[in-house]
């Protein structure tokens, strides 16, 4: 019952100094909304990065020859890729599956020679799992599954080879037994905005790549793509179960693309550091305001103590002020943060002016149009922390008030 009375005093004090309360709440809400918005933006960019990276460089889950991740030798292949692919389909029927063969060799044009990472793909399946087909430069055409002489080259690679669409190039590669030379015709150019890709990569059909390695029916990786990335652990387990009797490794994207995963983890950590810095700055502001408010009311607390209010109860009055202020400011910050996220979530935020049309993050091409995503665990965590920091900021002023001696306190004007 006394608690109700103490809360009433706390609430009235906040209302009495409405302007100060609103300014303090606005500072907390401003910091919190900025955190929520930037966290959602970060989540959106990670999702885009994961989506692009996973789809173009690996899969949500990949099946590779045993030991390939540790030593990516291009002759270390998954045999019977078609059977493996079908087996994967059987255990995860909703997933999209595409096989790829990676060939590293030299590409020669009549005028120049360059190293190349040629990826053999299934053109139809690939266009359902990745964005390669959207990266074609004008005048290019997507690969025809039946065209085993067709190749798509990175725009910069084509530049260094001084070739255009329609020109011929020769791939020289170490096959299974001997050096293989294969003639290709350039069907198109690819531009992702990533130098490593545009200057070094090419795409051809799966069969052409298998032929270059003299390893028919094999694949460097069978990639599995799911709609919901949260399903990855279950999908990985199901695929691993189906592959138990084969000499393969079944990896989630986090292990297949460790650099990208570590980049995201590191970036998240730096985001959290920023989060704590903002939280501490805001807390200092709250502490200052609450302490000032306590100093102004020393006489009032002295009266309360004189009337028989216990020191702990005076402590609680100020703590309640922090609790109530925290609820109000957190609610306000949450509303502003979500409202600020919404337009970008729907229409995207275009960072092209700052970063160019395409940017490279951790070796992955990323679109400059980023769609912030509602990261609810992060948002709830931010709200809890903002509320907690507000309450914690009141502890010292509360302790100060609780230690007052009534006679001295009542002498203060």
């Amino acid at each position: 019952m006394a608690t109700v009375g103490l809360m009433r005093i706390a609430a009235r004090n906040l209302r009495k100094n409405l302007r100060r309360t609103l300014i303090t709440a606005a500072a907390i809400a401003g910091g919190l909304s900025l955190l929520i918005w930037s966290d959602n933006l970060q989540s959106g960019s990670y999702q885009a990065l994961i989506q692009t990276g996973v789809s173009m460089m690996a899969g949500h889950v990949v099946v590779q020859a045993e030991g390939y991740q540790a030593d990516p030798d291009m002759h270390l292949l998954v045999n019977d890729e078609d059977t493996v692919s079908k087996a994967v389909h059987t255990v995860v029927p909703d997933a999209r599956v595409a096989s790829r063969v990676l060939v590293q060799g030299l590409l020669q044009s009549p005028r120049n020679t360059s190293g190349v990472a040629l990826v053999g793909i299934e053109p139809e399946a690939e266009s359902t799992v990745s964005d390669w087909h959207t990266k074609l430069v004008d005048g290019s055409e997507w690969l025809d599954p039946a065209d085993n002489k067709g190749v798509l080259l990175g725009a910069k690679l084509a530049e260094s080879l001084e070739v255009e669409v329609g020109d011929k190039v020769v791939l020289m590669v170490q096959g299974k037994d001997e050096v293989v030379n294969r003639l290709f015709r350039v069907r198109g150019l690819i531009r992702t905005g990533t130098d490593d890709i545009d200057g070094f990569m090419g795409l051809t059909t799966l069969e052409a790549a298998q032929a270059a390695l003299e390893q028919p029916d094999s694949a460097t990786m069978v990639t599995v793509h799911v709609d919901n990335p949260d399903d990855v652990p279950q999908v990985q387990a199901a695929v691993a179960g189906a592959m138990a009797d084969r000499p393969v490794e079944v990896l989630p994207w986090q292990q297949a693309l460790p650099e990208m995963y570590e980049f995201i983890q590191l970036d998240r950590q730096s985001g959290r550091m920023m989060f704590f810095v903002i939280a501490i700055i805001v807390s200092m502001g709250v502490l200052n305001t609450v302490l000032m408010s306590v100093m102004e009311r020393v006489r009032e607390f002295g009266v309360m103590l004189a009337l028989g209010t216990r020191p702990g109860q005076v402590f609680r009055v100020i703590l309640f002020e922090g609790v109530l202020l925290g609820f109000f400011a957190t609610g306000l910050g949450l509303a502003i943060g979500l409202a600020a996220t919404w337009p970008g979530h729907v229409d995207g935020i275009d960072f092209a002016a700052m970063m160019g049309e395409q940017v490279e993050v951790a070796g992955v091409p990323m679109n400059a149009l980023i769609y912030p995503q509602f990261n609810w665990p992060g948002t709830i965590g931010s709200c809890l922390l903002a509320w907690l920091m507000t309450v914690l900021s009141t502890l010292w002023p509360a302790w100060h008030a609780a230690r007052l001696e009534p006679v001295q306190a009542m002498r203060q004007t």
């Binding site: 009375g5 009337l307 028989g308 216990r310 006679v407 009542m410």
Partner: protein, 229 residues
Amino acid sequence: MAEPIVQVRNLVRTYQQGQIEVQALRGVDLDIQAGEFTALMGPSGSGKTTLLNQIGALDTPTSGSVRIDGQELVGMNKVARSSLRLNRIGFVFQAYNLIPVLTAFENAEFVLMMRGVSEAERKERVMRTLAAVGLSGMEHRLPGELSGGQQQRVAVARAIVGEPALVLADEPTANLDSKTGNDLLDLMRKLNEDQGVTFVFATHDPKVMDAAKRVVTLVDGNIAKDLIK
């Protein structure tokens, strides 16, 4: 004779003011019986307020003994002293000292609320007490919306609503005009006579001294005269 409600023995209170030691009380002995209407008078610095603070468990003595309703205050911890003040003593201060964010009703209700009295009982007792001090109809006003006299009446209501063993009033009429001061004094005398509330005042006000049934005069921290009318 019943045990005194206030029993002070050889009470000494010394303050340190910079390098100087000030002896505010120099071995005071005083008994106050239940139902008394006692004024502590004396010039400024004579120790009236210091003595009142000792009796009210608001301060700790340098030496000596203070017993309220049989309970020894010396050696009592902070929480026990708070509890004693809450349950046994009412206070009226010179500057009213109402809680500014609470209405007249809520200020008077505060002590009962801290004691954990039920809402229905609180309401009944507060309304009755506010009526007794002449503040019916002003329950919902904040202290800032009341005159000085009305604020002091709220303070009196707050002091007596919990039916304490003792009400201590430090210069209760000092900030009031003559008529308002007289009205308040009449009110407290009536409460003393009708309800048997024990009042102890620290005062300079001749009207309070006239109204008091006992006047204790303090000079330089000692009781110089104890006059029972």
